[in-house]
């Protein structure tokens, strides 16, 4: 945050003033970025000076791999939307996420994963496209 605010601050120095207003477009951003940089520095110093070691509560094991996988699949979904369209991408995304969070272990489990994905996709698509006049993304590759 400190580096980003200093970088953006440097960028504001190149902004040209507008003759119509007494303060240019960089005036307010410079104030905000300066405050951000000072506060970020304060947080860094506070962390360095803090005697307490930052650690999560003992005994709580957090599954960061699952979080990373969830973000990755969501990122893939967002990336795929303009190429394969809302219906295919959403079906695949819901099936994948549902299977990740609650892995199917039997035939019934696989049926559940596919049914949830299909029902959700169909309901969301019809609710928005047909009844709420919200046009959902079409696939550049699939035209669907």
């Amino acid at each position: 945050m400190l580096a980003a605010s200093l970088f953006l601050y440097a960028q504001t120095l190149g902004l040209k003033d507008n003759p119509l207003v007494p303060i240019g477009p960089g005036y307010y951003p410079r104030i905000v970025l300066a405050i951000t940089a000072v506060l970020a520095l304060a947080v860094v110093l506070a962390d360095l000076l803090s005697k307490k070691a930052a650690s999560s509560a003992p005994g709580v094991k957090l599954n960061y791999a699952m979080v990373a996988a969830m973000f990755a699949v969501f990122g893939l979904y967002c990336g795929a939307l303009p190429f394969i369209g809302f219906r295919i991408a959403t079906f695949a995304y819901i099936a994948a996420t549902n299977a990740m969070l609650d892995p199917p272990v039997s035939k019934g489990g696989y049926v559940r994963v596919l049914a949830v994905a299909l029902v959700t996709t169909v309901i969301v698509y019809f609710a928005f496209e047909r009844y709420l006049a919200v046009l959902l993304p079409r696939g550049r590759w699939t035209d669907f």
């Binding site: 945050m1 605010s5 953006l8 960028q11 504001t12 902004l15 507008n18 119509l20 207003v21 007494p22 303060i23 477009p25 960089g26 005036y27 307010y28 951003p29 905000v32 970025l33 405050i35 951000t36 506060l39 970020a40 304060a42 947080v43 506070a46 709580v60 094991k61 957090l62 599954n63 960061y64 699952m66 979080v67 969830m70 973000f71 969501f74 990122g75 979904y77 967002c78 939307l81 303009p82 959403t90 995304y93 819901i94 996420t97 549902n98 969070l101 609650d102 949830v116 959700t120 969301v124 609710a127 928005f128 009844y131 709420l132 006049a133 919200v134 046009l135 959902l136 993304p137």
Partner: protein, 512 residues
């Protein structure tokens, strides 16, 4: 005054038309269920409902959202009382006495004490909402750009100062929110700045996808990281006898008028303060009820006072939040921030002119708030057992569905993938902020108010370049002094808490 009540009457009559009543009822139902679902906050529920409102008239959409808000605040107590799991942060204090009362064999009394206290607290809050919003908006109309600038600074400093973990992190989160508003064209002259070569950034960062992303991902991912999703709670399998004498329950509440009024007042005040929300209201009201009680030692053992204090305050908190957004255009919490977004999508500017320029809409909102309470009451009288059944929907199904609706909501804002990418980036940022201990409320307030702070700063300097005016104009000066005081007060509070914690660590452990 007569005109004011006439408008309210016509607002209520209008809201009873099926066109508005149906979204209000559906919103209330979704709110009750969302509020009852542990791990699903009201903010997330209203985010899910948001895209469905795009195709509706503004009042229909707002009625649905107000239904979600009121329903959510009331629904949260169901699992708090019957399962001992708060459905939402603003029902945490309800658990302290609601669940022990249910375990002592009075689940119906615990539940209905909460429901009636919610309804009464909410309706008392409605009186303030209807009566205070107009005068406060009139007061705000007297504000010039100096006063608005100072008011927004006060809002940000208060929210940052109320953060429990770290004042500096709270302030930094608020500043970071303001940073997102400086990317793109400057809001006064439209001159491009800090676009970093990204073409779609020229229009600035839209705040709604940021809000949706930050809150939805922060909530969902912190749940996902806890391995293994909870199965149906054992207590749900037991047949619960929820039969109760409503007159006795009502007497339980009405025989404690000071408790009801004081808790409602606390809820209202917390609601009016920007971005604090019901989670603080119910804890503070519970704490106050305990301090004023003649039997404080009984709190936590299943007494009515604890339930009444918590539930009347969190519903009154909704009214307080609505006052702030309708009179000043400042969201009282994350839910009203989403409402602000919905208003913006429909081209409606909230703020002091909102009531005078959109009287029908404003009084329609009052009516929706008032009517949502009896609707929720009837709903719970008819189907509280069904709500308990719905609560067991696995999160492995719920989470992907919620995230898809977030994508739809973001995409529908401008029919462009750019807003979806903003959603994704905000999601990562929101989760990172939670993990590094940065509060979300000041960040969101910064995102919402950043533009307004700049606009009013530039306007004031364009009117008069003398910067001392911010201090010498009475209202502006008082507001800025209050900002400084709020930060000094927060610093003092943090130091005191640290000293207490240190003293507790040094004290000999007497438990052994």
């Amino acid at each position: 005054m007569a005109g004011h009540l006439e408008l309210l009457g016509s607002g209520i009559l209008g809201m009873l038309h099926l066109k508005y009543l149906v979204p209000l009822v559906i919103g209330s139902l979704i709110g009750v269920v969302g509020g009852a679902l542990p791990g699903i906050t009201i903010t997330m529920t209203v985010i899910v409902v948001l895209p469905f409102t795009f195709g509706l008239e503004p009042l229909q959409g707002l009625a649905a959202m107000i239904g979600v808000y009121v329903g959510g605040e009331t629904g949260g107590l169901i699992t708090s009382c019957l399962l001992g799991i708060p459905g939402k942060p603003s029902a945490v204090a309800t658990t302290f006495d609601g669940f022990p009362m249910a375990r002592k064999g009075e689940p119906g009394r615990a539940l209905w004490l909460g429901i009636w206290a919610s309804i009464l607290g909410g309706l008392l809050g409605a009186i303030v909402l209807v009566e205070a919003t107009g005068p406060l908006a009139e007061l705000a109309l007297k504000f010039g750009p100096w006063e608005y600038f100072s008011l927004f600074i006060l809002a940000l400093s208060m929210v940052a100062g109320l953060v429990e973990s770290s004042l500096v992190k709270g302030l930094l989160a608020g500043a970071l929110g303001c940073v997102t508003t400086i990317l793109g064209n400057d809001p006064v002259m439209g001159q491009p700045r800090l676009t970093l070569g990204i073409s779609w950034l020229e229009g600035g960062v839209p705040f709604l996808p940021v809000l949706i992303g930050v809150f939805a991902f922060a909530q969902i991912m912190t749940d996902v990281e806890r391995t293994g999703f909870s199965k149906t709670p054992d207590s749900l399998e037991r047949a619960l006898n929820l039969a109760v004498s409503h007159s006795k329950v009502l007497w339980d509440i009405l025989s404690r008028p000071f408790l009801l009024l004081w808790s409602t007042f606390i809820g209202l005040v917390i609601g009016v303060l920007p971005a604090i929300g019901g989670s603080a209201a119910n804890m503070l009201a519970y704490d106050q009820a305990k301090k004023f009680s003649s039997r404080p030692e009984k709190f936590g053992s299943g007494i009515p006072e604890g339930i009444i204090a918590s539930e009347s305050s969190n519903n009154a908190n909704v009214a307080g939040s609505l006052v702030t957004i309708m009179a000043f255009g400042i969201p009282g919490d994350a839910v009203t921030a989403v409402m602000l977004g919905a208003l913006t999508i429909h081209g409606i500017q909230s703020g002091p002119l909102f009531i005078s320029q959109n009287a029908q809409l404003a009084y329609g909102m009052f009516a929706a708030y008032i009517l949502a309470h009896p609707i929720v009451l009837i709903m719970l009288a008819l189907g509280v057992r069904w709500v308990l059944r719905i609560v067991i929907v696995p999160k492995s199904i719920l989470f992907p569905v919620v995230l898809v609706l977030c994508v739809v909501g973001a995409y529908a804002l401008g029919n462009t993938m750019a807003t979806v990418y903003v959603l994704l980036a905000s999601g990562v940022l929101g989760y990172a902020m939670v993990k590094f201990g940065f509060p979300l409320a000041p960040f969101i307030l910064g995102v919402i108010l950043g533009d307004q702070i700049e606009i009013n700063l530039v306007r004031s300097i364009m009117t008069d370049a003398n910067l001392w005016l911010f201090l010498t104009r009475p209202i502006s000066g008082v507001l800025l002094a209050a900002s400084v005081l709020s930060i000094v007060g927060a610093l003092w509070q943090h130091r005191r808490m640290q000293r207490k914690a240190a003293a507790a660590t040094d004290a000999p452990d007497t438990d052994f």
